[in-house]
């Protein structure tokens, strides 16, 4: 697989002969996390980076793979998405579609799953998916602020209550700490597991404050805050380490 046929997300990582810097991928990952629709984008960028660093990476099978419906989907930076079966053989290659994140699990990044990641790549994956979790916290905080500005209780917008204002502040504090943990995970591969666990826990905490700000309305499926929380839980179970 050469450099031909690049396009779409994969081309984001094509500017630099040495692949994207991890921190840049984290920034993109955080942005991606702000949208409840997850795509193979993040895994694709990681795969691109690893391929640039080591052309043999594909042969070793160490590319991110996502699970959609019952199929395993391996996004890679060639012509789209490779569909692989459980044994890792390519079944089909096609264009990329967006899908609800809940059905998209980067299966290959699960320690112990096939194909497994080595320690260095696992650490990078932890750092990058921790950044996705920060994006999840971002969007919930943004929505919570908007909600606090419009929701009326006791004859005034709830943004007027200091308890609500301080919950927004606490959501911000946790979100900022989560981002710091994600950045640190990218710098300290030797303890990326601990950093990622902190990032997921803190992103989760931030989202919890946001749900509380929303009150009962935030607890309904229609409002959709659970998508973001669920994404953090899902990533945590895949990439969180010891806490």
């Amino acid at each position: 697989m050469g450099r031909s046929g690049r396009g779409g997300w994969a081309s984001i990582s094509a500017d630099d002969e040495n692949g994207m810097e991890l921190r840049e991928i984290q920034e993109v990952a955080r942005t991606a996390g702000r949208f409840a629709v997850s795509t193979p984008l993040v895994a694709t960028l990681l795969a691109g980076r690893w391929f640039e660093l080591d052309q043999d990476v594909l042969d070793r099978g160490a590319v991110p793979i996502v699970r959609r419906d019952d199929r395993l989907v391996a996004p890679y930076y060639a012509d789209g998405v490779a569909i692989v079966d459980g044994a890792g053989a390519v079944v089909e290659s096609s264009g990329v579609e967006a899908a609800v994140f809940a059905d998209l699990v980067p299966l290959a990044l699960v320690p112990g799953e096939h194909p497994a990641l080595d320690g260095e790549r696992l650490a990078e994956a932890r750092a990058v998916f921790a950044a996705v979790a920060v994006g999840c916290a971002d969007i919930v905080l943004t929505r919570s602020i908007a909600w606090a500005q419009t929701r009326q209780q006791f004859g005034q917008p709830i943004k007027g209550f200091q308890a609500v204002r301080h919950m927004l502040a606490d959501a911000h504090i946790a979100r900022e700490q989560a981002w710091t943990a994600a950045i640190a995970a990218g710098h300290e591969a030797f303890r990326a597991d601990v950093w990622a666990a902190q990032a997921f826990t803190l992103a989760r905490r931030s989202i919890e404050f946001g749900i509380q700000v929303h009150g009962g309305v935030g607890y309904t499926w229609e409002v959709g805050l659970q998508h973001h929380l669920d994404q953090v839980l899902e990533l945590d179970s895949l990439f969180g380490g010891d806490r």
Binding site: A163, G216, T220, L225, L229, S237, G240, R243
Partner: protein
């Protein structure tokens, strides 16, 4: 203190009675094959459980004997919850009637209302739901906008209620509605015993963030309530609601939540993936504290203190305890109970919101318990 205390021999005897009865009363198909039951079977068993409770004498444990209750206190309620939970007993549909509607009618109803409704609550021939919360009112319960317009012989009710458990099975609704657009806040609401079996009522399930549909929205359009089903005096609904919510709901709810906390924390303590066992020990200690706090509050309530002096503290306590327990459940990343903890964790997010948000509870404590004027 002369009331039943938790460590009294009488309490121990009652516990033994409950335990024996529950073991006997649980249908075999529930005890032995719950996983295999379909939704219709489950519903049938829930209904039969309401009847079994009545026949066994365990409906209305804390109701006065003159109304068909057993005349016990919340200690016995707590014991019942603990023992039935240990035995994995089913839950009926009659709960709102037994813990909310019944006590309201006993406290504020006319003799006629008591005679008409209380027996049907106890034997679960009528299932009740509550019509308090509204999407627009939220924490500000006094801001309900469902209208009760006076007409000849009664009222016409129009509006939307939310978080209404059991609405799809209910024949009656304990309804709080705005009966005056002119009277001041807190003096403009009335409380009704509304017939759910009439046209103009639309029940729609709410899907919660954990995917379940435990609650409903209910839309009322020009629904009639006769004068005799007004309870507690016209425009005096707020006072009735406050008494009911603070005195009755608190006790039973805390007991129920204690049982939930016990389930979660026991599972945690035995989890194969719990690598820091002391975290679970601390939760066990907090759970024991909650249990004793309920006992203490019960004693103080019997001694004449308003429930709300303890109710708000309990609400904050159980909601934070269960939320912390489910967080730890997620953190175990237990491969066996992964879905269980995800579900419990998401479900627990509502606990700091419903029954009065924890922020409202803290307002109540400062306003009404510590009496610090704003």
């Amino acid at each position: 203190m002369t009331m039943t205390r938790f460590d009294d021999p009488a309490a121990d005897r009652f516990r033994a009675d409950v335990s024996a009865w529950v073991a006997e009363a649980i249908p075999a198909e529930w005890r032995d094959g719950r996983q295999a039951l379909g939704p219709d079977d489950v519903q049938r068993i829930q209904r039969s459980w309401d009847e079994a409770l009545f026949e066994g004498g365990f409906a209305g444990l804390s109701w006065p004997e003159e109304y068909g209750g057993r005349g016990f206190g919340p200690i016995e309620e707590l014991i019942y919850y603990e023992e039935s939970s240990k035995a994995n007993a089913p839950d009926g549909f009659g709960r709102i009637g037994r813990v909310l509607a019944g006590p309201t009618i006993i406290a504020a109803g006319t003799e006629q209302q008591k005679k008409k409704y209380l027996p049907r609550i106890l034997d679960a021939s009528e299932i009740w739901c509550q019509g308090f919360s509204e999407p627009g009112a939220g924490s500000d319960l006094a801001a309900v906008t469902t209208r009760a317009v006076k007409v000849d012989g009664g009222y016409r009710i129009t509006g939307q209620k939310i978080w209404t458990s059991f609405a799809q099975y209910s024949t009656r609704c304990l309804m709080l509605a705005k009966s005056s657009t002119e009277l001041p806040r807190h003096h403009n609401l009335s409380f009704f015993l509304l017939d759910m079996e009439q046209d103009g009522i639309d029940v729609r399930p709410i899907r919660q963030i954990n995917g379940e549909q435990e609650f409903n929205e209910v839309f009322f359009t020009d629904v009639f309530v006769p004068d005799e089903d007004l309870i507690g005096g016209e425009h005096e609904g707020w006072a009735v609601a406050m008494t009911v919510l603070s005195n009755e709901r608190g006790t039973t709810e805390a007991a129920t939540r204690l049982v939930e906390a016990t389930t979660e924390i026991d599972l945690l303590s035995s989890c194969c993936s719990l690598d820091k066992p002391h975290d679970a020990v601390r939760l066990q200690d907090r759970k024991e504290l909650l249990r004793w706090h309920i006992l203490r509050a019960t004693e103080e309530k019997a001694a004449g203190e308003d429930w709300f002096t303890a109710g708000s503290v309990l609400k904050v306590q159980w909601s934070e305890l269960i939320q912390d327990a489910t967080r730890l459940g997620i953190d175990t990343r237990c491969p066996i109970h992964r879905d269980y903890w995800r579900h419990s964790y998401l479900a627990s997010k509502a606990m700091s919101i419903y029954s009065g948000t924890n922020e409202i509870q803290r307002n109540i404590i400062t306003d009404r318990v510590l009496k610090v004027a704003r």
